[in-house]
């Protein structure tokens, strides 16, 4: 995993897990890497990984069972919630930026439709 080193790394670790969960790369009940394994894999300070895991526990995303490891909380609703939450963030950013460029809501909608159409055509051409 490549980090953007201009942002706190523990937040990026949490985001990476949220994305993996939203995409379905990992699912409810799955065991995730131990803090130690993860720190070594991505060459990041173990204290930073500990902080990310602790925050994910507090958010109710993962739970650590002594002697067995850390698991994604077996709650399918949480997965949907995270997916929605992440989509919400992307949409908010997108709409704010479009407004900042002077586009109105209707224009944004039609631009989005056009873009989706042209993307599909490109895919069909391949």
């Amino acid at each position: 995993m490549d980090f953007n080193k201009a942002r706190p790394i523990y937040q990026q670790i949490i985001d990476a897990y949220k994305k993996a969960l939203a995409r379905g790369d990992i699912g409810p009940g799955d065991r995730i890497l131990s803090q130690r394994e993860y720190a070594q894999k991505i060459k990041v300070n173990p204290n930073t990984v500990q902080r990310a895991y602790r925050e994910m526990e507090m958010m109710g995303m993962v739970a650590t069972i002594r002697g067995q490891g850390t698991f994604i909380v077996p709650d399918p609703e949480m997965q949907q919630k995270i997916k929605k939450e992440m989509a919400e963030q992307v949409l908010t950013y997108f709409i704010e930026e479009m407004h900042a460029l002077g586009f109105k809501d209707e224009e944004i909608c039609s631009l989005l439709e056009e873009k989706q159409k042209s993307s599909k055509e490109v895919v069909a051409d391949d």
Partner: protein, 233 residues
């Protein structure tokens, strides 16, 4: 805990350290960053007990650096082992000297770093010599590990291997590691605390994650900013 109180050191006309006050907590990986001639090696040498401060005090776990030597493993920038020694002879020397030598760890790392015990330290490449130095410094379970420019002359793939080795070691033993380098990019994700040193003074110091949050920049970016301002004083 390592503490510098009002520490100064002068070599002839050069003020190598200029009134340094600093506290380093236990169980942290600390990056000591700065351009050439900033005073990084001098700070390391004073902590290792091979140089003495002119004024001020340095304490390592409540002891003087000289008293603390048995808890401190120091990797100097220079090649400090006899060039005619083999890696095994250097290891035997350290094992006889330090009670915290860990033979199992040594054997494991020897294999991991793809080194051979019969290698003559003066006859191998710079990169291999750097790997030998790291192997010998890390094979002690020392409470404090001081490494002065450990990555210089080592290729990128080996650097990554070494970074993994250090992280594994840190996770197992909860040492306090201080790594000095002018190549911050390599280790910026590894450090808890950073100290930016320039012309013998600390120009910025803090928790890496907090600094990223505050500045919205990487450590390399922060260093450029800090030294740009320092030089326009």
């Amino acid at each position: 805990m390592i503490e510098f109180q009002n520490v100064s050191k002068r070599f002839g006309t050069v003020q190598a350290l200029d009134h340094i006050d600093l506290t380093i907590d236990e169980g942290k990986i600390v990056g000591l960053f700065g351009p050439n001639g900033a005073g990084k090696s001098t700070m390391m040498k004073i902590m290792a007990g091979v140089n003495r401060a002119d004024t001020g005090t340095v304490s390592i776990g409540g002891q003087t650096p000289r008293q603390a030597k048995e808890f401190v493993s120091y990797l100097p920038e220079i090649d400090h082992f006899y060039p005619w020694w083999t890696l095994k002879e250097a290891a035997d020397f350290l094992r006889a000297f330090y009670g915290d030598w860990d033979q199992e760890k040594y054997g494991h790392l020897l294999e991991f770093l793809k080194l051979q015990e019969d290698m003559k330290l003066g006859k191998i490449s710079k990169g291999q010599r750097a790997k030998c130095k790291i192997l010998l410094a890390v094979s002690r379970n020392a409470h404090y590990l001081l490494m002065d420019e450990p990555f210089s002359g080592i290729d990128i793939l080996t650097r990554e291997e070494i970074a993994r080795t250090l992280i594994q070691d840190f996770a197992d033993h909860q040492q306090t590691m201080i790594i000095s380098t002018h190549e911050i990019g390599e280790i910026e994700a590894m450090v808890d605390q950073v100290i930016f040193l320039d012309q013998g003074q600390i120009c910025l110091e803090g928790e890496a994650e907090e600094l990223r949050n505050e500045w919205g920049l990487s450590m390399v970016g922060i260093m450029k900013e800090v030294f740009r301002h320092a030089n326009s004083r």
